[in-house]
Symmetry: C2
Subunit: 198 residues, 2 copies
């Protein structure tokens, strides 16, 4: 049973995480201070280190939270799909939904941090990329792939396209139509791997 | 005519740029100091700000240099190709060559900086992405594209795949086969857009 005190603590934690996720995505990790997080969350500045230790601890917790959201988005097992084509539509629908999450913007922004040498979130990022590739690979393995083309390599290319489309859009939202590019990716994959689809 | 003094100055500048490009790619921009650059280049620490003003100025100059290398890599005009298929092979060959350049690793590492709010290199990155997309788009416009699919949107997806493949590889070189993934991308594009190729 949750005590009143624990419940309040959990609520504060969630308010801090929501505020930090928004600020990291908007201002970047380095530019965000505990004072910013306190102001946006309405939780006192002093209780942030009590919940998360350091700013790095807060970053890791924000990343865990966004990883949970990504996992939920991928929760449907591709093996359960009715057929390869239905599986393809579901895969692409969930990719579309994933990219529409605000947490995905944060995820791409924090990649910046993950690539820095000695980054505390490097390991988590490797894990997230593995999860995404694995999900894509399992779907691809159910298709009759052209000879010489592995599901593993295709998964890297497809997940890569998702990441790279998103980054071009983040860099220049006025010049890049993310939605159209995701549809183009879908058409490339369908055209190459499901030629009898039409 | 170049005086002896100017020539030496140009040589020092190039040595500094080479050293900085290597260090930025290995250690990251923020972790690299003028002292590191001086040590690797063999040029005195004091002359670095004389050439580039600030560390930001050095970063911009390194980026300009890598932009020149990318432009040279794309120099062959896609319009000059003999046919769409020959054009495709040349496009993909130049993409492969581009990704093999050490400067590309630097380019991806510095994207980190470009995405930070208020970054001094943001504008240059927008320009580089535009150049890459434009090159790809011009090639795509020569193909009979499936209805409803624009060259612009496909260019974002294809350039995005190149960027995203590279980043997955940078994050976890032991888990991602960049070369195989680039071949898979090539197969996706050929399979979807050049169906009569085989």
């Amino acid at each position: 049973m949750t005590t009143r005190r624990e419940q309040t603590s959990g609520e504060s934690r969630e308010l801090i995480l929501q505020a930090a996720a928004g600020l990291f995505a908007e201002k970047g990790y380095r530019q965000t201070t505990f004072a910013d997080v306190a102001e946006r969350s309405g939780i006192s500045r002093g209780s942030i280190p009590w919940h998360f230790g350091s700013k790095e601890g807060l970053l890791l917790a924000v990343l865990e939270r966004s990883l949970d959201m990504i996992r939920t988005g991928l929760a449907e097992d591709p093996d359960a799909a009715q057929g390869a084509e239905a599986g393809f539509d579901r895969l692409m629908d969930s990719a579309h939904a994933l990219f529409a999450l605000p947490t995905t913007k944060l995820f791409v922004t924090l990649l910046v941090e993950a690539l820095e040498p000695g980054s505390p979130i490097h390991g988590r990022y490797v894990e997230i990329h593995d999860t995404l590739r694995e999900h894509c690979r399992r779907w691809l393995e159910r298709l009759p792939l052209p000879p010489g083309l592995s599901a593993e390599a295709l998964a890297v290319a497809i997940i890569g396209a998702g990441i790279g489309i998103h980054q071009q859009w983040l860099l220049a939202p006025g010049r890049v139509d993310r939605e159209q590019a995701l549809w183009a990716l879908r058409a490339l994959v369908a055209g190459a791997l499901l030629p009898d689809r039409e």
